[in-house]
């Protein structure tokens, strides 16, 4: 595994570079928006990747609630954390695109507001995991994640069923897209998905290691008073 990771990291870096070249150079320029439309190649794949990570978080949380499996809990934590990062990218690149196209940075449109709510739900999930020291934390977090995941389909389908300022879906929603643009979009999505998988993998390893260290420290703390007691008794008998 240790040998596979650097190879995959190099391949992902190459794929990300190729995707960047495709997005900035090879993709055709959109007629009305011009070059600013190219933000779409980072904004949309980041949103799709975040949705997938939140779905994995949902299934891992269900698995934790059913089987109380430690691995499922770690997967849930890791996917929520990386998902928040990708969702942050969506919330940052969206307004940067909106400013020149709509003339405003932000509007309380349904899609935008639900995305912000989604981000806040998972940030609160991470805050709960970070600052609660209760033994029930993974259980509470899993329940929060199950309810939080309900927002994902709401975000995704909000532009299908409601009139919003956000552009209509260009893939699978009756909209149309130039095949070359679609190719660049999918290449970028593939690149960001590989990147997300690698980041999740290293974050998973980090979490496993952290829990092992925490367990050892706890064990050490449990054994500490006993050895101190033995010392005291020995000193007692010696005096």
């Amino acid at each position: 595994m240790k040998r596979v990771f650097p190879i995959l990291a190099v391949l992902t870096a190459a794929l990300l570079s190729y995707a960047l070249y495709e997005a900035l150079v090879a993709a055709p320029t959109e007629q009305t928006m011009g070059d600013v439309q190219r933000i779409f190649y980072y904004h949309v794949p980041s949103a799709w990747t975040a949705f997938i990570l939140f779905f994995v978080n949902f299934f891992a949380s269900i698995a934790y609630l059913v089987w109380r499996a430690n691995k499922a809990d770690i997967v849930a934590l890791v996917t929520a954390e990386v998902g928040v990062i990708f969702c942050t990218v969506v919330l940052v690149t969206g307004p940067i695109w909106a400013r020149p196209v709509w003339g405003i940075w932000w509007t309380w449109d349904l899609r935008l507001t639900l995305t912000l709510v989604l981000w806040l739900i998972y940030v609160s999930y991470l805050v709960l995991r970070r600052f609660s020291s209760s033994g029930q934390t993974p259980l509470l977090a899993a329940v929060l994640a199950v309810f939080g995941a309900l927002d994902v389909p709401l975000v995704y389908f909000s532009i299908w069923f409601f009139r919003t300022q956000h552009p209509q879906p260009v893939v699978g929603g009756g909209g149309s897209i130039d095949p070359r643009m679609l190719h660049v979009l999918l290449i970028n999505w593939l690149a960001f998905s590989c990147f997300a998988a690698l980041v999740c993998w290293s974050r998973y390893r980090l979490e496993v290691l952290k829990r092992e260290v925490d367990e050892t420290l706890a064990l050490e703390a449990l054994l500490e008073p006993r050895s101190a007691q033995t010392k005291t008794s020995r000193y007692g008998s010696g005096g």
């Binding site: 900035l24 070059d35 990218v89 690149t93 980090l206 050895s227």
Partner: protein, 43 residues
Amino acid sequence: MNYLYAAYVATWAIHIGYLGTLVRRYSRLRNEIAELKTRIEEK
């Protein structure tokens, strides 16, 4: 064009920032493991 570059730079700044926190957490954990090993060996 500035908006385009701003979006791409912001995206990579967020990702690199997060990777930086992972690296920091890794090195902190490695130090903790080294400390733990020394303590166990001393006992």
